[in-house]
């Protein structure tokens, strides 16, 4: 029996030391030296070096003067985040989408982009499609008293394209960009 017991127990202990302790420590060591920014959560700081969030994690924005992220099934909770898990056939999905669409609809523009009406898998999607960002430009320009073109340009400047994936815009970047735009002049 000990011919089985000894290797079983000692190998599980050894594997724990190698794969469960040494391996994460080595990765952490190298990562903290080579990619300290990413390894610590891609944090974004304000001018006073205070953490205002992560480049990768959505934060809620309300009010006319901000770009809104996609809705979140977990109300942007981070511990733990979650999805709606609504089936395509669940009437609750159709009701929610139709109600949100009625609120978001801008008469001078086409139908509301589906991206703005659906919750993401993580509940923390930091991105919008460029179309979903552009759909909000008029509202923000009016609220901030800015020329529509400068907000439009902000979206274009922040659009990230990729060889192998869809173009995206980071909402936190957009809103930080809005704060940096020269404040709007009162029109009459």
């Amino acid at each position: 029996m000990s011919s089985v017991l000894r290797p079983a127990v000692s190998l599980i202990v050894l594997m724990t030391l190698i794969t469960g302790v040494a391996y994460p420590l080595v990765v952490t060591g190298v990562a903290q030296v080579a990619f300290p920014d990413q390894a610590n959560g891609s944090l974004v700081y304000d001018d006073h070096e205070k953490v205002i969030g992560s480049e990768l994690i959505a934060q809620n924005f309300t009010g006319e003067e901000w770009f809104h992220p996609r809705p979140s099934a977990g109300a942007y909770a981070t511990v733990a985040s979650g999805a709606s898990n609504l089936a395509p056939s669940n009437p609750a999905l159709a009701t929610r989408v139709a109600e949100d669409a009625a609120k978001e609809k801008v008469d001078s523009q086409g139908p509301v982009p589906l991206n703005l009406l659906t919750t993401s898998g993580s509940g923390l999607d930091p991105h919008l499609t460029p179309a979903a960002a552009e759909y909000q430009v008029s509202r923000i320009a009016a609220a901030r008293n800015l020329p529509r073109e400068s907000v439009q340009k902000l979206v274009a400047d922040n659009t990230q394209t990729s060889l192998i994936g869809p173009p995206v815009v980071n909402v936190l970047d957009l809103n930080l960009g809005l704060n940096r735009l020269p404040s709007g002049k009162a029109v009459n």
């Binding site: 079983a8 390894a39 959560g41 609504l86 395509p88």
Partner: protein
């Protein structure tokens, strides 16, 4: 679909298929104890492991000793992990001060990780300490995958050797698979993931105050190291609850590509390893052809289905396009569907979008991929030994048709082998249909579903299919964290794992003991297009006949009711 969608698909297939022959040969050399370029680094570690555990790697075991060693090792792993999860509250590396797990959840989680399933009834960032994640789950991620490789090579030896009792040494196989087969690739992948933005730190969660002034806790941890092995070891258990949909777990379309490729990199390579064992690469190519055919049929169907706008959202004020509920913007439809098809084909079970919200027929493909027994590439090691069982069944059927004793690579299949094959055939039906029906017929357990109608049934069906197939993905609205489901799903995972491993090792022993007859003109060739077709049809029939009625009640009924 856009240009970038096609480039993604092209990149995926190239990165999976091109390195496979080379990697497959590497695994053969490693598992046979030959010298490789990693020997100077890993050799000393390997020898220390043997010395401290009193193992002589050159002593080979027969199938019974091999099986006992495997079971003892898995049991030891079970006990250690179960203890860590129950006691994490009083163990170190718990900066968030999380309490120990409830016993039925701890049982379910332990079974889930020991069986390479990684079904998750918990959310990592809210319920697991850093110690549980790394010294508990990460370890089982490695050794459960290594166990799969060990069983596979024992089976390969059984087929390729003749007139012997020897199947190799489990301790050496497990150690080599971990040290050479998994660890080096994980190191590389983990660092690539950190580069793309996955956290890797032991620091406390960060408290941020957002631009609009609300408090936001940012969950961190040693994530990249665990995510690397959960992808490469076809485990699939996320560091964060929403798995690879979480922007920290899978931050960019590039990290997505790396993680996606990692799901089936090793399973594909191992098919070539098999070719080296039997010294006939045509056998590998035939199996790859069958797997690819099944993968493409499923993948293309899912891709088509998921690009259809949901008719239930057909309102004038809503843009009519491919559904986005449960999907991340940075991945879009193509990357989400490609992942869904791959993760269910390969017994991985990680997700980058929520399967519950997929269109009905897309969800059906995910189910079907698991129902055929996780043999379309499948889990590390497990996928190929599952596929080889199908190969033997196809050979048996061919033998019946031409009226000869069925033979595979010179080994005759006789009554004992066929009985063992049949034993493996009843595992999936028992786990999915019997346990699933039991759960569906009890009012308490059936109440775990969150969606009405046919989809609710699909949720329960998906849970028991995923557990028995050792996949681990879920229709996430299903509330599996009840005592009943924790225990029954745990049992499903157990039979889904060891209900295959035991017959496979017995088969290996029985085949190894046989003499090998020379391949004559009367043998049925197992490498041509005819055999590939027969094998593909066999897999579809065995899975299809068993599970088609459940698919009709779930996803097909939902599809028709939506009026696509």
């Amino acid at each position: 679909m856009h240009g970038y969608d096609y480039l993604l698909i092209l990149a995926f297939f190239s990165l999976v298929l091109l390195p496979a022959p080379l990697l497959g040969r590497f695994y053969y050399n490693v598992m046979e104890g030959k010298r490789t370029f990693l020997t100077p680094v890993m050799g000393p570690v390997e020898r220390i492991c043997y010395r401290l555990s009193g193992v002589d790697p050159s002593i080979e075991q027969n199938w019974k000793t091999y099986t006992i060693a495997l079971l003892a090792f898995n049991l030891a792993g079970f006990v250690v992990l179960f203890a860590i999860l129950l006691l994490q509250g009083s163990l170190p590396l718990n900066p968030q001060g999380l309490p120990g797990m409830e016993w039925s959840l701890a049982f379910n989680t332990t079974m889930s990780f020991v069986t390479n399933t990684n079904w998750q009834s918990y959310s990592g960032e809210a319920s697991l300490s850093y110690l549980s994640q790394m010294a508990g789950l990460t370890v089982q991620n490695f050794v459960s995958a290594a166990t799969g490789i060990a069983v596979l090579v024992a089976f390969c030896r059984g087929i390729s050797r003749r007139s012997t009792q020897h199947l190799g040494n489990f301790w050496a196989d497990m150690t080599r698979a971990t040290l050479y087969g998994l660890l080096p690739l994980c190191l590389v992948l983990a660092l690539m993931l950190v580069w793309q933005g996955v956290p890797q730190t032991f620091a406390h969660y960060v408290d941020a105050v957002t631009l609009q002034g609300t408090d936001q806790a940012l969950p961190l941890g040693p994530a990249a190291s665990q995510i690397a092995i959960k992808q490469l070891g076809t485990n699939g258990g996320g560091f964060f609850g929403v798995n690879s949909a979480h922007p920290f777990e899978n931050p960019t379309i590039w990290s997505n590509l790396f993680e996606l490729v990692s799901i089936i990199l090793i399973p594909v390579a191992l098919v070539f390893t098999f070719g080296h064992y039997v010294k006939d690469m045509r056998q590998s190519r035939a199996i790859i052809a069958c797997m690819l055919a099944l993968f493409l049929i499923g993948g293309a169907t899912a891709m088509w289905a998921e690009y259809q706008p949901n008719p239930a959202l057909n309102v004038a004020s809503v843009e009519q396009t491919a559904p986005m509920e449960g999907k991340e913007t940075r991945f879009g439809t193509t990357a989400t569907v490609l992942w869904a098809a791959t993760t269910t084909a390969a017994s991985n079970g990680s997700v980058n979008g929520m399967h519950d919200s997929l269109n009905p027929l897309t969800g059906m493909i995910a189910l079907a991929n698991m129902m055929v027994g996780e043999v379309i590439f499948g889990g590390v090691g497990a996928g190929l030994y599952g596929m080889l069982l199908n190969v033997l069944i196809a050979v048996f059927l061919a033998g019946l048709m031409i009226g000869r004793t069925p033979e595979y690579l010179g080994k005759k299949l006789q009554a004992r082998e066929v009985k063992l094959l049949v034993a493996t055939l009843i595992v999936m039906p028992v786990g999915v249909l019997v346990f699933g029906a039991l759960a569906a017929s009890l009012p308490g357990p059936a109440g775990a579903v969150s969606n009405p109608g046919a989809h609710g049934f699909s949720q329960l069906l998906y849970a028991y299919t995923s557990a028995t197939a050792n996949n681990g993905s879920a229709f996430g609205g299903f509330s599996g964290n009840t005592t009943f489901h924790n225990l029954m799903l745990g049992l499903s995972m157990f039979i889904g794992r060891f209900g295959y491993i035991l017959p496979v090792l017995a088969l290996a022993g029985s085949l190894a003991a046989k003499k090998s007859s020379p391949l004559g003109q009367n043998s049925f060739p197992t490498h041509g297009p005819l055999f590939v077709t027969l094998l593909t049809v066999t897999i579809l029939l065995v899975g299809g006949l068993t599970f088609l009625p459940t698919l009709a009640l779930g996803p097909i009924a939902e599809h028709l009711s939506l009026g696509f």
